[in-house]
C-alpha cells in the first residue's frame, strides 16, 4: 500500500518535471526571438554593410552550405575538420587525465612529489603552445596535441579533487565484506568521482573549442571553421564570419547537451541535484 502511493508520488513528480521542461523550452524560444528582434532592429538602425541583419546571415549560411566557400571547401568540410580535431584531442585528454587524476588522488604522495613538474604546465595556456606545435607537428596531430593540452587540466584537476571526496565509511563497507583494492576503485572511488569527472569534462570541452579556433586561425591548414572565418575576415565578408561563429557556438552547445544527457542518465541517483 505504502509502496503504491510512493510510486504514484514519483510518477506525478516526473509529470511535474516534464511540465517544467516544456515551460523552460517555451522561455528559451521567447528569449531567442527577442535576441533576434533586437539584432534586426540594431542592424536597421546602424545601416552599415559591416553590420549584417539576421537574414543576411541565413543567406550566407545557405550559400556556404550549398556552394561552399571561395577555396572550394564546403561548410560541412570545415565543420567536420574542427569537430574531428576536437574529438581526437578531447578524447586523448580524457584518456590521460582520468587515470592520472585517479592515480594521483589515490596516492597523494605521488602528486605531492611531482606537483612542481605538473602544476606550472596548468598555467601555460594551450594558445601559448601554438608556435611550438607549428614547429613540431602538422595536420591532425598538431591540433590534437593543442586540444589535448587544453582539455587535460580541467579534467585532471577535478578528478584529483574528486578522489578526496570518497567517504572513508564507503571504503570500510567494501573492506569489511572482503573486497580488494580493485573492487573499491570500481565500486566506490569511481562512482564518487564520476560527477567531478563529468564536470571537468564540460569545462575541458569549452577549453577545447577555445583552443581549436585559435589554432586554426594561426594558419598552416586549409580547413576548419577557424580557418574559414579568417579567410572571410580578410575579404571583410562579415556575414560569413558570423556564420562560422554561430556554428561553433551551436556545435559546442550540442556537445555540451550530449554530456549533460549522459550525466543525467549516469546520475539518476542524484538527478534532482544535477539539474
Amino acid at each position: 500500500m505504502a509502496a503504491t502511493t510512493k510510486d504514484e508520488g514519483r510518477r506525478s513528480s516526473i509529470a511535474t518535471a516534464m511540465g517544467a521542461g516544456i515551460k523552460i523550452g517555451a522561455w528559451n524560444v521567447v528569449s531567442l526571438a527577442i535576441a533576434l528582434a533586437v539584432w534586426q532592429l540594431a542592424s536597421v538602425a546602424v545601416a552599415s554593410p559591416f553590420f549584417p541583419a539576421p537574414m543576411q546571415i541565413v543567406d550566407a549560411f545557405i550559400q556556404l552550405a550549398t556552394r561552399g566557400d571561395t577555396t572550394g571547401h564546403s561548410l560541412w568540410e570545415h565543420a567536420w575538420a574542427s569537430i574531428e580535431r576536437v574529438l581526437v584531442g578531447f578524447g586523448l585528454g580524457v584518456l590521460f587525465a582520468v587515470p592520472l587524476g585517479l592515480l594521483m588522488g589515490l596516492y597523494p604522495k605521488l602528486y605531492a612529489g611531482t606537483r612542481s613538474v605538473i602544476e606550472p604546465f596548468r598555467f601555460i595556456p594551450p594558445i601559448a603552445w601554438i608556435p611550438l606545435a607549428i614547429i613540431f607537428f602538422s595536420g591532425l596531430t598538431r591540433f590534437a596535441f593543442l586540444i589535448f593540452l587544453g582539455a587535460f587540466f580541467p579534467i585532471f584537476t577535478s578528478t584529483l579533487v574528486g578522489v578526496a571526496r570518497v567517504e572513508p565509511i564507503h571504503r570500510k563497507v567494501g573492506i569489511v565484506h572482503g573486497a580488494g583494492k580493485l573492487w573499491i576503485l570500481r565500486h566506490v572511488v569511481i562512482p564518487t568521482v564520476m560527477p567531478d569527472i563529468m564536470a571537468g569534462m564540460r569545462v575541458g570541452l569549452g577549453t577545447a573549442w577555445l583552443t581549436i579556433v585559435a589554432a586554426e586561425l594561426a594558419g598552416g591548414i586549409s580547413t576548419g571553421l577557424g580557418r574559414m572565418m579568417t579567410n572571410y575576415a580578410e575579404l571583410i565578408m562579415v556575414s560569413h564570419v558570423i556564420v562560422g561563429m554561430l556554428l561553433i557556438g551551436l556545435i559546442g552547445f550540442l556537445m555540451n547537451e550530449v554530456l549533460l544527457l549522459v550525466e543525467r542518465r549516469l546520475f539518476r541517483w542524484r538527478w534532482q541535484v544535477s539539474l
Binding site: 510512493k6 514519483r10 570500510k172 569489511v176 546520475f267 541517483w269
Partner: protein, 250 residues
C-alpha cells in the same frame, strides 16, 4: 596435559593509540561462539575503534585481536558490520545496496535475488527496492545497512548503535529480528549501544568500558530467558547495576 580446546570466537588483548591519544590500554576480553555480547561505555571511549579492530579495518598499535584464533582479516573470515554512521552507497538502489556484500563474495545472481528479497522483507522495506537512498528516510537507510550486513550470513556480526535512528516500535521489531536471526543461525554478535535497556534485553553478557584509555570495568552475565520482560524485577535489577557501573566510569 590439557585437552586441546577450540579457541574462543573472539579474543582481544590489545592497546591502541591514535598518535599521542591512547584509546585502549591493555583491553582484554573474550567472546565465545554463539554468544551475544553488548558493549557499553562513555561516548568517545573507543567502542567504534574496537569494532574496527575486530573487523580487521584497523590494526591495534600493540597486542592482538584474534578471530577463531587468527588475526582479524575480512578476506579470510566472514564478518559483517552495521556502522554507526550512515553507510549506504547513494549511487545504488536499496536492493543493490543490500546485495553489495553478496556480490563481493561472488554469490550467484539468482541466490542474491532471493536472499535480498527475504532480508528486505525482514527489515520492512518491501516495495522500496528500486528507491535510491536520497528518496528514503534516515531510519530506512539504517535498515538498508542492517539488511546488507545480515544478507551475507556472516558468523561474526558487529553492530555499532544500529537502532538509534529508529522509532520505538521499529526498534523493538528489529531487536526481535536480530535475536531471532542470532538464535536460528547461530551467530556471534557484538553489539555496541548506549541504551542499557537494549543491552539487558539482548545480551548474554554486558561489558562496560571505562573512559579513555578504555578497559573493561565490569562484566555482567545475563541468564534471563528470552523473550525478556523489561518490567520484571530481575530485569530492572540488572539494568540498575549496569547504570551504576556506567556512572562509575565518569
Amino acid at each position: 596435559m590439557d585437552a586441546p580446546v577450540a579457541p574462543p570466537k573472539v579474543e582481544v588483548d590489545a592497546s591502541h593509540r591514535y598518535g599521542s591519544l591512547t584509546v585502549h590500554e591493555e583491553l582484554k576480553f573474550r567472546v565465545n561462539a554463539n554468544e551475544f555480547v553488548c558493549i557499553c561505555g562513555p561516548s568517545g571511549c573507543g567502542k567504534t575503534t574496537l569494532l574496527d579492530m575486530l573487523a580487521g579495518i584497523l590494526v591495534p598499535s600493540s597486542g592482538h585481536v584474534l578471530i577463531d584464533g587468527m588475526s582479524a582479516n575480512p578476506k579470510k573470515q566472514s564478518i559483517s558490520f552495521v556502522f554507526q554512521e550512515p553507510s549506504t552507497f547513494p549511487w545504488l538502489t536499496v536492493a543493490e545496496n543490500v546485495a553489495t556484500g553478496l556480490k563481493i563474495k561472488g554469490v550467484p545472481a539468482a541466490t542474491i535475488r532471493s536472499k535480498v528479497a527475504d532480508i528486505i522483507g525482514i527489515v520492512g522495506l518491501t516495495g522500496f527496492e528500486d528507491y535510491y537512498p536520497h528518496q528514503i528516510s534516515g531510519g530506512m537507510k539504517q535498515r538498508v545497512a542492517i539488511a546488507r550486513a545480515f544478507a551475507t550470513e556472516a558468523d561474526l556480526v558487529l553492530m555499532d548503535e544500529p537502532f538509534v535512528s529508529l522509532d520505538q516500535p521499529t526498534r523493538e521489531h528489529m531487536q526481535r529480528e536480530v535475536l531471532d536471526i542470532w538464535r536460528r543461525m547461530k551467530r556471534t554478535v557484538i553489539f555496541v549501544t548506549h541504551n542499557l535497556e537494549e543491552a539487558v534485553y539482548l545480551a548474554d553478557r554486558v561489558l562496560i568500558l571505562s573512559a579513555k584509555p578504555a578497559r573493561i570495568v565490569a562484566e555482567l552475565p545475563i541468564t534471563l530467558q528470552h523473550p525478556r520482560d523489561p518490567l520484571s524485577a530481575e530485569f530492572t535489577e540488572i539494568r540498575s547495576k549496569c547504570v551504576r557501573w556506567l556512572h562509575a566510569t565518569h
